[in-house]
Amino acid sequence: MLAFIIYKLIICVAVFGLSLAVAAYSTLWERKLSALLQDRVGPDRAGPFGLLQPLADGGKMFFKEEIIPNVSNKFLFILGPSLVMLTALMTGAVIPWAKDAYVGGKLYSMQITDINIGILYLFGVVSVGVYGIMIGGWASNNKYALLGSMRASSQMISYEIAMGIAVIALIITSGGTLSLREIVEQQDAGFANIVWQPLGFIIFFVCALAETNRAPFDLPECEAELVGGYHTEYSSMKLGLFLFAEYINMFISSAVMAAFYFGGYNFPFAQELYDAMGLADGSKWIAIIGFGAYFTKIFLFISVFMWIRWTLPRFRYDQLMNLGWRILLPLSLLNLAITVVVEFFRGHITF
């Protein structure tokens, strides 16, 4: 029992640290990539190639003066960013990072928990994240913050519907399972889900951009019109938590997309490679190589997220709502219908 608790504790801390580290270095990569896309050099002063830049940024955040507005509700004001950060970190719990591996003669799963309603859990936790933004914006007692958080919540709720329907289609393709592990595993034998769900992937991707409040759907923080949106009144590390949570969300949604549509830790000819290397099932090396493959996919997704941010201008609010309700929602329903027909002919579902 104790060994079990220690193992879970280790993997929890590992995923926690991984999320934070990836988020921290995403900020650096974002700045670096934006610089590269704009023919600049980007941060290169802190440490070799600017590798210590995230630490410097974090340090700066900590040393900034902490201001809590007099007129704000102090409890809610602090609860807002905490909730956003909490939910962002909680989503990492159901993601399978690598294949099971034997460590010291015992088979360990490289996942915090494999619950059979993983997708529901994911959606539930992400939805709670909206409360963090909403509470933060409300407690600030500032019209810009309130407008920003209103935008954030209505945007996230609108896009969650199309996203949910796209995921239903995905679940049908994956044989009706809600467990992320099983979704990833069943892509091992056949093709990755992107082959059966190209439209679903595009819908999911667009919705993921909106859910993480990334450009071109970054209306909630929209510097040009809302000063800073829901985090207008925030300063110091509370602001840092909001900004940081966005990067963690980006990391997690990249991980989820890679798992849902691109086979997670699987990659083409993986089994052939493992056979050629003489690795038996459950080998540590399989887990490590799989983790590397998974991370490459996540890295590519994060880069595409950023690439889009530094290419496209922001949507207007009515355009955003139009896209969500009048284009993506019907499109996702259409995708669902097509999926049902295709899966019927593939023989996965019967009536």
């Binding site: 590269l36 896309l37 704009q38 023919d39 600049r40 050099v41 290169d44 595009i202 690439w307 889009i308 530094w310 290419t311 496209l312």
Partner: protein, 201 residues
């Protein structure tokens, strides 16, 4: 009635189905930004790298010393007069006994200041100088936190005895020859022979 020919027909063109898809347009835009990944950066990483400058670049001034290490400047004030930006001020002092190694002539600049924010780096001071004392060099003026710090005194202008600054690029042969021309008024004025003969101008 048409008043000018500058009127334009307003286009309210409806988007085609292809344009309404947005995705091709988005991809096109992303390829444009993506192509910039492989373009050359225009950044010069100062101070590790410096932009190449012409051999006769006019930057941070230097007050030269002669072969023996004595300051050449005699505080005649011609540079200050020549300066169109009125950036140069100086105070003169008389050389005392025992200071012959420090100052070349009987009079020297006790204070010599150039306001680097006023200076336009035209090089007229250098042209006016009869003693070959002031030169502009290819060094860039440092950044400072306070405006006052841009007023460079002798400590920042005079060259160090053990760290001579090469101004031969600015002091081209032509310039050196030109300064020796007997017809030039300032050369005439400071020509020691003529002073010996009692010529006064």
């Amino acid at each position: 009635m048409q008043l000018t020919n500058r009127s334009k027909v307003v286009s309210n063109k409806v988007q085609t189905a292809m344009e309404q898809l947005y995705l091709p347009g988005i991809l096109k835009g992303m390829l444009i930004t993506g192509s910039h990944l492989f373009k050359r950066r225009a950044t010069v990483k100062y101070p590790e790298e410096t932009r190449p400058v012409a051999a006769v670049y006019r930057g941070w001034h230097v007050l030269k010393r002669d072969e023996n290490g004595a300051e050449r400047c005699t505080a005649c004030g011609l540079c200050a007069v020549a300066c169109p930006a009125e950036a140069i001020t100086m105070e003169s002092a008389e050389r005392k006994k025992g200071e012959e190694g420090l100052y070349r002539e009987e009079k020297y600049a006790k204070v010599y200041e150039i306001n680097m924010l006023r200076c336009i780096f035209c090089g007229l001071c250098e042209e006016a100088c009869p003693k070959e004392a002031i030169f502009l060099t290819d060094r860039l003026v440092d950044t400072e936190y306070e405006r006052e710090d841009f007023v460079y005194g002798k400590s920042k202008l005079t060259e160090k005895v053990d760290k001579r600054i090469d101004v031969s690029k600015r002091q081209t042969l032509e310039v050196a020859e030109f300064k020796k021309l007997p017809g030039l008024k300032h050369n005439e004025m400071w020509d020691s022979k003529k002073i010996d003969k009692g010529h006064k101008h």
